[in-house]
């Protein structure tokens, strides 16, 4: 070691200096170690329970197990809504560093359309970064295999097996049973979020929505041990979910399809009801649409096409289509006249082809320009004489007419177990004052008597009113679900809502109106006589024509020259068998022209089909 002579080093002094400093350093180090041990003692002894709990919370997670949704069957056990196993591709955004690159690379393995991306980003904003966000639904087997091979290249991306709602009948059942869709913000405000933990879909329209509580079931839970990536390592405990109940509808899928077929190319609606119970046998609105694309979110372009279609396939005409009932209202007006006592079966009125209110020049025309001559109530119904009903309506007055027709279900929602029905309009002077702030004019009473003017009714209302009339005033609120099967297999009939009875003054009055309706079909001069042949049961019916636009005083109605969109709607109400009705039908054919020529044959086909499947 160098010891240069020019320095004055004192080895002993330096040695002691070093020793002193070393001891100082050791004391400081000792204090620091003591502080560290104090810290450790606090962490591991004093706060041990706290950290042990946190560590358990890290490791053990409570996971919801969504219940399987109940199925929907028709009255004969044909499946209308089922749950199909399907594979979806999910991404946990938290674990993906470069989302755009990942999406681009995934696009090489599975088909990802722009729409899928948009939906993915939309759903993503509603979920936490640690949850799997679906990118694609219904992966094909080939896509599943292709991804599985490359899965290690995509951290945070995985395939999930699940059940997806499917409607096997597609467009044939959409308006009746509706569909489910992904839960959105609006849904979140009304549902029990605890019970819907883990559930992704909810009934949006139709029976799926009305019976959501029954169909959904109750959520289950499992305690699982997960690692930091959220991957489940083992299940610690499990409380299974309660599956939703299955619904048996009163609808008859075969009748439903036969009804649709009977319409041919026409748009419109038909509703068939069992007058004995109010059970809806068929509920058709045409055109229909396929509900399946709505389940996982429909492509915006497809939705726009449906929405902008002038035929309005998404519009449920059976419940929401409000049409002028036209002449189909005449049997009810006739009954009102008889029961209230302003007319009798012997009262005769002369029909010159038009009607005039006293002191007024305005002519209220009959559909038959030459007139019907002397008509009584029976003839007026059978031949659908307008003048007779102008006169009868005037005798009744609008308010008495309103009060008598209201119990048949006109002007108010029928209370069917499908949400969204429209109430129609049954006008009265009070109604006009309240809604239009205007007095009632006598002329308006006349056209109300033939179902025009302010009168509007849905096909469902027409069918219910027909059933009520045919069953001598028994008003059964209509319904589509007639039984429920709980997950353990027990059947429970859905309790029928209470029946309302319309008071009968004289049963004979009803007999006479119903007899006239039979003659509409089976009589030689009946407006629907063309369907009365080649038949082994009796039908009671009434034709109707609803004006789409008003004719001027002297204008001729010529179906051939009028654009199809402006042509009259053809209506027909019917029930059969005439003396012990099992089925009541209302048919509205949009722009069909004549109720007798177009509406009645469709009703006949529905009835034929019904009696073929349900022989008397």
């Amino acid at each position: 070691m160098p010891h240069p002579l020019h320095t004055f080093k004192d080895s002993l002094l330096e040695s002691r200096l070093f020793l002193g400093r070393s001891i100082t350093a050791m004391i400081i180090a000792g204090l620091l170690i003591a502080a560290l041990i104090a810290r450790l003692a606090w962490l591991q002894v004093v706060a041990h329970e706290h950290f042990r709990t946190l560590s358990e919370d890290n490791r053990v997670k409570l996971q919801p197990i969504p219940p399987n949704r109940g199925l929907i069957y028709d009255r004969n056990g044909i499946l209308l809504a089922e749950n199909l196993p399907s594979f979806r591709l999910e991404i946990v955004p938290e674990q993906v560093h470069d989302m755009e690159t990942t999406l681009a690379e995934l696009g090489a393995l599975v088909e990802i359309r722009d729409f899928d991306r948009e939906r993915f980003h939309k759903i993503r904003t509603r979920m936490s970064r640690f949850e799997g966000v679906p990118l694609r639904f219904h992966l094909s087997d080939e896509e599943v295999a292709r991804f599985a091979v490359n899965r290690h290249l995509f951290p945070g991306v995985d395939i999930r097996a699940g059940l997806s709602r499917n409607y096997p009948l597609g467009r044939h059942s959409a308006h009746a049973i509706g569909y489910v869709g992904r839960i959105n913000e609006d849904d979140l405000t009304v549902i029990d979020t605890v019970n819907y933990r883990g559930t992704t879909h909810i009934g949006k329209v139709g029976v799926e929505k009305t019976y959501e509580d029954l169909l959904h079931g109750r959520v289950g839970h499992q305690q699982v041990e997960t690692n930091a990536q959220g991957r489940i390592l083992r299940v610690l405990s499990r409380q299974p979910p309660h599956a939703g109940s299955s619904l048996y509808l009163s609808l008859d899928a075969r009748l439903q399809q036969a009804t649709e077929a009977a319409f041919g190319d026409f748009n419109g609606s038909a509703v068939a009801i069992d007058p004995r119970s109010g059970e809806v046998l068929a509920l058709v609105s045409l055109p229909g649409y396929d509900p399946n694309p709505f389940v996982n979110g429909i492509d915006y372009k497809d939705y726009k096409a449906l929405n902008d279609d002038p035929d309005q396939p998404l519009f449920n005409r059976a419940l929401r289509g409000q049409y002028p009932p036209g002449s189909t209202i005449k049997p009810f007006v006739a009954l009102a006249g008889l029961e209230i006592g302003v007319t009798s079966t012997h009262t005769r009125t002369y029909c010159p082809g038009f009607y005039r209110l006293p002191g007024n020049d305005r002519k209220y025309r009959d559909w038959k320009r030459t007139g019907h001559g002397m008509v009584d109530l029976r003839t007026a119904i059978v031949e659908s004489c307008d003048v007779y009903f102008y006169d009868l309506a005037r005798s009744l007055g609008i308010d008495r007419l309103h009060d008598y027709l209201a119990p048949f279900g006109f002007g108010d929602r029928t209370g069917i177990d499908i949400l969204g029905e429209q109430p129609g309009i049954l006008p009265s002077s009070a109604w006009k004052r309240a809604t239009k702030n205007a007095p009632w004019f006598p002329g308006e009473t006349l056209i109300s008597g033939i179902g025009q003017g302010f009168n509007l009714a849905t096909p469902l209302q027409l069918a219910v009113a027909t059933a009520t009339l045919a069953s001598y005033g028994e008003f059964h609120p209509p319904r589509v679900v007639h039984a429920i099967r709980t997950p353990d297999g027990t059947f429970a009939p859905q309790p029928a809502p209470p029946v309302r009875h319309i008071p009968i003054q004289q049963r004979e009055h009803w007999d006479q109106v119903l007899a006239a309706m039979i003659e509409v079909v089976h009589g030689a001069r009946g407006t629907a006589r063309r369907i009365g042949t080649g038949i082994d049961y009796q039908i009671g019916g009434k034709t109707g024509t609803a004006q789409v636009f008003g004719l001027k005083q002297e204008e001729e109605y010529d179906a051939e020259t009028i654009a199809e969109k402006l042509r009259d709607h053809a209506l027909f109400i019917a029930y059969a068998p005439a003396h012990e009705p099992h089925i009541a039908v209302a048919v509205v054919v949009e722009n069909g022209g004549s109720g007798g020529a177009v509406g009645a044959p469709i009703a006949r086909q529905i009835l034929d089909r019904y009696f073929e499947d349900n022989p008397l």
Partner: protein
């Protein structure tokens, strides 16, 4: 007459003495490394390949230690200025042509080997300052201290520019300990501490965003529990949930289920705390204490200023390593990238540390005794 120390008789020299090794230090180091391997096996998720690599590194590190122990301190003394000069030059080179890894410019690619000059400086710094004070009267005068300060600050600034705050801190400590052991006046020491506190806002201004974030996170880890605060929160949960006796080897849920990040490197102490509890930690701290105390003892027995100051600095720097890592993992200090010495997975710092112990052994076994 001067002869080498030879406690036993000349003919019965043990193999420890023949290879210039210190028995107690070697035993403590082996015990620490063995314990470290046990913990690492669990922390790596029982990875065979990682264990093999770590064993290879340990073998390399112990080999380096044994080689250095054979080099007499006089030789080290002679190399010191060259080593330090080369270190500064390489640090400068790293800033100009170095490779960037993990966001910082630390590596120098020499074609056949990637090399981190800041590691070399961990040894070169205390050697240089000890060399500088070797032939002066202690405590050093103002002029000497000024030069020493310049020698200390230049490499530190270069390393901070990379940026590598953790290493800069450790090298600063190594240099400071030489000054401290050389008898730096207490009032100067307190003056510097006061000046340092006053300069803290300026330091804050020069910090990188991620460094500032670390300080913020240290002060309040709960403000971003899933981001910057995640490491320290999970680490505290791991240690705290371990309790007195721990959850048992391979049974730590925080580490085995991967909630604890960096569990085989910087945060391996949390794995130890979770699986072996307070008992296991105290055991490690005890072995560490043996290593530090033995090293300090060796330094006090050194016969000249250079070896004394160098040995003392190496001993205390090791202590800083251990305290900074454990302090950081337990949430007492901000998160700086300092591994747990001799235990964390990783090579470079392990080799540097073991070379340091090689120097200490060399100091102890090359002492000369004046014979009567």
């Amino acid at each position: 007459m001067i002869a080498e120390i030879n406690p036993g008789s000349g003919t019965r020299r043990s193999w420890l003495q023949r290879f210039h090794l210190d028995g107690m230090l070697l035993l403590a180091l082996l015990a620490t490394c063995a314990f470290g391997l046990v913990v690492l096996y669990s922390a790596t998720g029982e990875s065979q390949t990682m264990m093999q690599r770590q064993l290879l590194r340990l073998a390399l590190a112990f080999g380096a230690m044994i080689v250095i122990a054979q080099v007499p301190p006089q030789l080290l003394y002679r190399w010191t200025p060259w080593l330090f000069g080369a270190g500064v030059a390489l640090l400068a080179a790293v800033l100009m042509v170095g490779d960037i890894g993990k966001g910082a410019q630390r590596w120098l690619d020499l074609g056949f080997v990637r090399f981190q000059p800041s590691e070399m400086m961990k040894l070169a710094m205390p050697m240089m300052l000890a060399w500088y004070f070797a032939d002066v009267r202690l405590p050093p005068g103002a002029r000497r201290l000024l030069v020493a300060a310049v020698l200390l600050v230049i490499p530190i600034l270069l390393i901070m520019r990379q940026p590598d705050l953790g290493t800069a801190l450790l090298i600063g400590c190594a240099g400071f300990f030489v000054l401290f052991l050389a008898g730096l006046y207490w009032r100067l020491l307190f003056g510097l501490a006061a000046a340092g506190a006053a300069c803290a806002p300026i330091l804050w201004y020069f910090m990188h965003d991620y460094q500032r974030q670390r300080v913020i996170t240290f002060l309040d880890p709960e403000q971003d529990p899933l981001g910057a605060g995640y490491h320290i929160i999970q680490s505290k949960i791991a240690i705290g949930s371990g309790g007195l006796y721990g959850k048992g080897w391979l049974n730590g849920t925080q580490s085995q289920l991967e909630f604890l990040p960096e569990r085989s490197t910087d945060f391996i102490f949390a794995v130890l705390g979770e699986e072996f509890g307070l008992i296991g930690i105290l055991l490690l701290l005890a072995v560490y204490s043996v290593i530090i105390l033995r090293s300090v003892y060796i330094s006090t027995q050194a016969q000249d200023t250079f070896t004394r100051l160098l040995g003392g600095s190496l001993a205390l720097t090791f202590g800083v390593y251990a305290l900074v890592n454990t302090g950081m993992v337990t949430g007492l200090l901000p998160v700086v990238g300092v591994p747990l010495p001799l235990i964390s997975y990783g090579g470079t710092s392990m080799v540097t540390l073991m070379i340091g112990f090689g120097i200490l052994m060399s100091i102890h076994t090359h002492r000369k005794l004046l014979t009567t």
